[in-house]
């Protein structure tokens, strides 16, 4: 219960930072997606079955805060959880080299998948796909975005790991 409350608090703080601080400093499209990286870190550190429904709730909460139709991130976040679970079962993320490679793969794939699904769903199909293709044609934008996402993923991974190992939250 304490862990859940801590995760909920971190999600809310991340959403506030995402909406009220980063857009002032970021360039077009080059903004890290804090909440997505938080969900990715939680997906790696938590069990699929315990975290699946929490990710749905987190997605619904994120959609409410973003004034968009509830369901967009409520679809994306569980897909992230499933994707991580699919690969984590087959390849160990605990080994150093393999783990770093897997984390990098997760960050890149999750960033692309999230943007793809977001544009398709929120722009109702072909317009969204068209826009996503235009973004892909500027690889530098994606590189910057993935770089910033990686930084925050590492931060969240360490925070979540400390929470899990902390005596207070056991």
């Amino acid at each position: 219960m304490k862990k859940t409350i801590a995760y909920f608090f971190i999600i809310i703080v991340s959403i506030i930072i995402q909406k009220s601080i980063f857009p002032i400093f970021g360039a077009y499209f080059v903004l890290p997606n804090l909440v997505l990286m938080l969900i990715l870190a939680l997906s790696i550190l938590e069990n699929f079955y315990t975290f699946l429904y929490k990710s749905v709730f987190a997605g619904m909460l994120y959609d409410i805060f973003l004034y968009q139709q509830v369901g967009i991130y409520a679809i994306i976040f569980p897909m992230v959880v499933y994707f991580v679970s699919f690969f984590s079962r087959r390849i160990s993320v605990d080994l150093k080299i393999t783990g770093i490679f897997m984390f990098g793969f997760f960050i890149i794939f999750v960033t692309l998948m999230s943007d793809f699904l977001f544009f398709i769903i929120s722009y109702y199909g072909m317009d969204g796909l068209d826009f996503f293709v235009k973004i892909i044609k500027n690889p530098l934008l994606l590189v910057y975005k993935i770089f910033f996402n990686s930084m925050f993923f590492i931060l969240y991974y360490n925070i979540i790991k400390r929470i899990k190992n902390s005596y207070f939250f056991i």
Partner: protein, 271 residues
């Protein structure tokens, strides 16, 4: 069958189908109740975060532009003198306009009832599609109200309203379409947003003229926006892809990341 339904993939599939169904229904009232609670609770923290970030950003801009300050200052003094002269001339014209209207028994143009609000959030995807303000239905804000900055620079309109917050869809949003007119040449067209990147003045007849530097304002056609609100200046003119119309790229006067305070036109009377 039981084996398939208990798999992880099936669970994800069920969740996705459910939410796709929910998206197509778009149950605003169901969400509105929770939205009111969460957004109202988050507003004070967003205000603090946003105002601190703006101050930090302004300080950063100031430090990085110290070298250019003297030159910018000289340009601004010159522009100030020109604008003071323009204001005096226009005040005189305004008095004449009011007197003539009284004589002809016409009502005064565009009386606005304004509500001021602080900006507390932005589109988190970095596409400058919308902003969030700290006023909502409890302050008389309604959907489709125009939103301006300064004395009459249109930046967007209210798209969604909650109890203490509202979402403003910016003109640069690709879903934003309003009627515009070129002040100098009276060419009429439609202002469309371009995925947060800028504005296009589209569907201008080939027989009309568009010049670089012309001011584009709202035309008031359709009645959804007051006439005469400044939108931007023409930066570039070209033909549309099908060569049927002219198009112009319109520059926005201020990037949305610099906006701190907006005014919502709650009620306007146009003649």
């Amino acid at each position: 069958m039981k084996k398939i339904t208990s798999t992880k993939l099936f669970k994800i599939f069920l969740i996705s189908i459910f939410f796709i169904f929910l998206i197509s229904l778009n149950p605003y009232r169901f969400v509105g109740f929770f939205g009111n609670i969460f957004l109202t609770l988050a507003i004070p923290f967003q205000k603090i975060a946003y105002s601190s970030s703006i101050k930090f950003s302004n300080t950063k801009d100031f430090i990085s532009s110290i070298g250019q300050l003297k030159r910018e200052n000289e340009n601004l003094i010159k522009e100030n003198i020109d604008l003071t002269a323009d204001i005096s001339r226009l005040k005189d014209t305004e008095k004449e306009n009011i007197a003539l209207r009284e004589q002809l028994n016409l009502s005064l143009k565009n009386q606005y009832e304004l509500a001021n609000a602080f900006v507390v959030g932005h589109d988190p995807n970095g596409q400058e599609n919308w902003i969030e303000i700290d006023k909502g239905s409890s302050d008389g804000i309604e959907v489709n109200m125009p939103v301006i900055i300064a004395e009459g620079v249109l930046i967007g309109r209210v798209q969604e309203v909650y109890f203490k917050t509202a979402k403003i869809i910016l003109l640069t949003n690709s879903k934003s379409v309003i009627n515009g007119i070129d002040v100098e040449t009276e060419a009429k067209g439609v202002i469309k947003g371009e995925y947060g990147l800028g504005l296009i003045f589209d569907m201008v007849l080939q027989s009309d003229f568009l010049n670089i530097g012309d001011s584009i304002i709202t035309s008031g056609i359709g009645g959804d926006m007051p006439k005469g609100l400044f939108i931007g200046k023409v930066k570039e003119v070209h033909f549309s892809e099908d060569h049927l119309f002219q198009q112009a790229v319109v520059s926005v006067p201020i990037p949305s990341s610099k906006i701190k305070v907006v005014s919502i036109i709650k009620n306007y009377k146009s003649y």
